[in-house]
């Protein structure tokens, strides 16, 4: 497994060191790491394509080759362990030529139309071609042509741009444990294929989009809703309402050159207002609402002896995963819709009524860190007002592209506020964007609602951070409540298998499909890597800390919503509008 720099530094403290020579420079590095890892530790850059932090090594692209003295062949640095006394040449002529040749070979079977490609500007292949100074492709010949697969509501596959690095396959298998895609055929005919050669839309793919983040090229991207949103904005007969997810405000600055982890809430609001939305609202509002509904659901189950552990339901990637792989846990999953869907439902009922707008003329657009939300908003059962709760769901990337298309420079925007009332939210909603956030927000409210006491320490550090599975416990009314949090479905399986086996000690479990939670969602700006995930998470907690209200049940707009419209949490109306149901799916 490819290690992170930090893990390597840790390894260095413990392990035996070996001496190697990188372009003549002596270095002492831990035994057992690869040449590539050693180079990165020592500050040498080695180009890569199929290598990816956090995934098993593949060694197929042969871009990272280096020369090892005494060895007749060049070796792939990403899979070759260091040995004592190894003399490594990183940039000899042979190395340069080999890398360039392999890159040219890849390009000889590749459409050369970057201008038309989703990844123009963020493509690793393009960048390498630039860096290596590729000016011609010496090897012509057959180029494979495949039909673009648009069958999935979330992920578009253009195999013509695929370089068979396998990063998507390994992500889907090793991170998500979904295995929706794999290599098929062999030799020059090899391609990446969803289950049984079916289109992706008919496979077990859970739409998480992690493969898109992993893909170095434009072979994988989101199914775009951009044109539909332009149409809606420009249609004078439509009242277009925008909601922005908690995780977007800490990432959308990146495509505009702001450093990862910059909080851009105010600028973002201003920018989208200028884009032409009639209202700019906040998904955080319904994140607070989710906590109220889900919190009461939990309290209810504990009181009435309902099915436990309760498992969160705001990640549509996780929901589809459950429907395919753990249908037997369906009753454990909260019936709450996700914040995105609750928002659509409230906007087209409560808000539409308030404003006197016919819901059929209202278009709800969301900006999400997520590709699975595109699928979620199209689920048949998501129609509280009689119309689709949410009409279109844009990823952070698409939203940034729309701003750029209109010449709006986010970084230069003034700070503006969300519209009222669906733009009012608390810190508890903000932390939804990071793994552990839903649990933390829920604990804050569940504790206070059920005990009537004030929670002294609002920060639940045990459930924060990037460990795959985290746990905490809290005494509520004399009961020891055990909670657990998992992000990335490979990690989630560990908890789920316990629940399935009936030996889970937990009462409440949060599951987010994407590593890091939504800040690492499949719709986020590329690159999204470990380091960037950590920065975005830090930003999320900064947002939480700086908000005057940090508990969902203290959100005044939410209180008003119940008073004016919904009645009781988990009451009949709430149930009708804000809750949903699931269905088992084939495991093909």
């Amino acid at each position: 497994m490819a290690k992170t720099l930090k893990e390597m530094e840790k390894a260095k403290e413990k392990a035996n060191l070996v001496t190697i020579y990188l372009d003549g420079k002596e270095a002492k590095v831990p035994e057992g790491i690869t040449i590539l890892e050693a180079c990165r530790m020592e500050g040498f850059h080695v180009p890569t394509l199929c290598y990816m932090e956090g995934l098993s090594s593949w060694g197929g692209c042969r871009i990272c080759v280096v020369e090892v003295e005494g060895q007749p062949n060049l070796v792939a640095s990403c899979v070759t362990p260091v040995r004592e006394g190894m003399k490594i040449r990183l940039s000899s002529r042979a190395v340069r030529e080999a890398r360039k040749t392999n890159l040219e070979l890849l390009l000889s079977n590749h459409p050369l139309d970057c201008q038309l490609c989703d990844r123009n500007g963020s493509c690793e292949l393009q960048e390498l071609a630039y860096e290596f100074g590729v000016r011609e492709i010496r090897f012509g010949g057959e180029r494979k042509t495949y039909a673009v697969d648009m069958s999935s509501p979330s992920v578009k596959r253009d195999a013509n741009r695929c370089i068979l690095c396998g990063r998507c396959v390994r992500t889907c298998r090793e991170v998500q444990s979904v295995c929706a895609i794999d290599f098929a055929n062999r030799g020059f005919d090899t391609f990446i294929s969803p289950s049984l050669g079916l289109p992706l839309g008919e496979s077990v793919c859970i739409n998480c989009g992690q493969c898109i983040l992993a893909c170095p090229t434009g072979a994988l991207s989101e199914v775009s809703h951009v044109e539909m949103v332009w149409d809606a904005i420009e249609d004078p007969g439509k009242f277009v309402v925008l909601q922005t997810a908690p995780a977007v405000r800490v990432s959308i600055g990146e495509p505009f050159g702001l450093p990862a982890g910059t909080v851009t809430t105010g600028k973002m609001v201003a920018a989208f207002r200028r884009l032409g939305f009639d209202r700019v609202f906040d998904t955080n509002f319904t994140a607070d609402l989710t906590i109220i509904e889900e919190g009461h659901e939990f309290i209810g189950r504990v009181k009435k002896g309902g099915k436990l552990p309760l498992i969160t339901s705001c990640s549509p990637g996780w929901i589809k995963f459950m429907e395919h792989f753990y249908p037997e846990l369906m009753e454990n999953v909260s019936t709450c819709k996700s914040p995105q869907q609750m928002f659509g439902a409230i906007a087209k009922t409560y808000y539409a009524q308030k404003m006197g707008i016919d819901p059929k003329d209202m278009v709800v657009v969301s900006i999400m860190p997520c590709t699975a939300k595109k699928f979620e908003c199209q689920r048949d059962e998501m129609c509280a007002s009689g119309y689709q709760d949410v009409d279109f769901s844009l990823t952070t990337r698409e939203a940034a592209r729309m701003l750029k298309e209109k010449g709006i420079r986010l970084e230069e925007m003034p700070e503006e506020n969300f519209d009222d009332p669906l733009g009012i939210s608390t810190g508890a909603a903000a932390v939804f964007g990071a793994t552990g956030g839903v649990m933390e927000a829920a604990l804050r409210s569940v504790y206070e609602i059920s005990t009537g006491k004030t929670l002294e320490k609002l920060d639940f550090y045990q459930v924060r951070g990037l460990d795959g599975v985290k746990e905490a416990s809290l005494e509520i009314n004399g009961m020891e409540v055990n909670v657990a949090v998992a992000h990335g479905l490979g990690n989630a399986r560990r908890l789920l298998d316990q629940v399935k086996a009936g030996n889970s000690k937990y009462h409440f479990i949060e599951i987010m499909a994407c590593p890091g939670g939504c800040i690492g969602g499949g719709g986020q700006p590329i690159p999204t890597n470990l380091e960037i995930r950590m920065k975005r998470i830090a930003a999320i907690y900064e947002v939480d800390k700086n908000l005057p209200l940090r508990k969902s049940h203290e959100n005044p707009a939410i209180k008003k919503l119940y008073e004016e419209f919904l009645g009781e949490p988990n009451g009949e109306k709430a149930h009708h509008l804000l809750h949903t149901h699931y269905m088992p799916r084939e495991r093909i």
Binding site: D182, A184, R186, S193, P194, S195, L196, V204, I588
Partner: protein, 154 residues
């Protein structure tokens, strides 16, 4: 697909229950039964063996003896590796194409023959050679090709 066919597949899987990672064995035996591995069969195997169906598909398309599309009753695999090539494999392939009216990779309309080329069959001592299902024929020339095909045409 008929219920009974699914049962047969299940029996095959059951037979290898004790084996570690018997996917290849199962695919081979199932293919013997059905001549090829249709998509629903692969899906069923995946489900029963608890292997991701993308993996099953990847495996079934990797090996040249697995067919994921319908093939003829007799699959003719003509060797075109160099030892056969320099002994006239090209002419043998031409003869087969002529006799069967098929191109490489095609199946005859009556569903009887599929013509494929393959790598060395390990009988280069009797080059040029071909395999029809699992029987090997060597020392091929136009005349022997005609004779052999006659055996299968009956």
């Amino acid at each position: 697909m008929e219920e009974s066919l699914y049962r047969e597949i299940e029996e095959i899987i059951e037979k290898y229950r004790e084996e570690e990672t018997p996917l290849l064995c199962v695919l081979q035996e199932v293919q013997e039964k059905f001549h090829y591995l249709p998509r629903n069969v692969l899906g069923y195997i995946a489900k029963k063996m608890n292997v991701p169906s993308s993996t099953v598909y990847g495996v079934a398309t990797f090996y040249s003896f697995f067919e994921t599309n319908p093939v003829g009753e007799y699959v003719i695999r003509v060797c075109k590796s160099t030892p056969c090539h320099v002994q006239g494999a090209f002419n043998v392939l031409q003869a087969l194409k002529r006799e069967l009216g098929l191109k490489e990779g095609e199946t005859s309309k009556d569903g009887k023959f599929t013509l494929e080329v393959t790598s060395c069959l390990g009988v280069c001592g009797v080059a040029p050679a071909m395999m029809i299902n699992d029987v090997t024929y060597g020392n091929l020339n136009d005349e022997r090709v005609r004779e052999i095909l006659a055996l299968y045409r009956r």
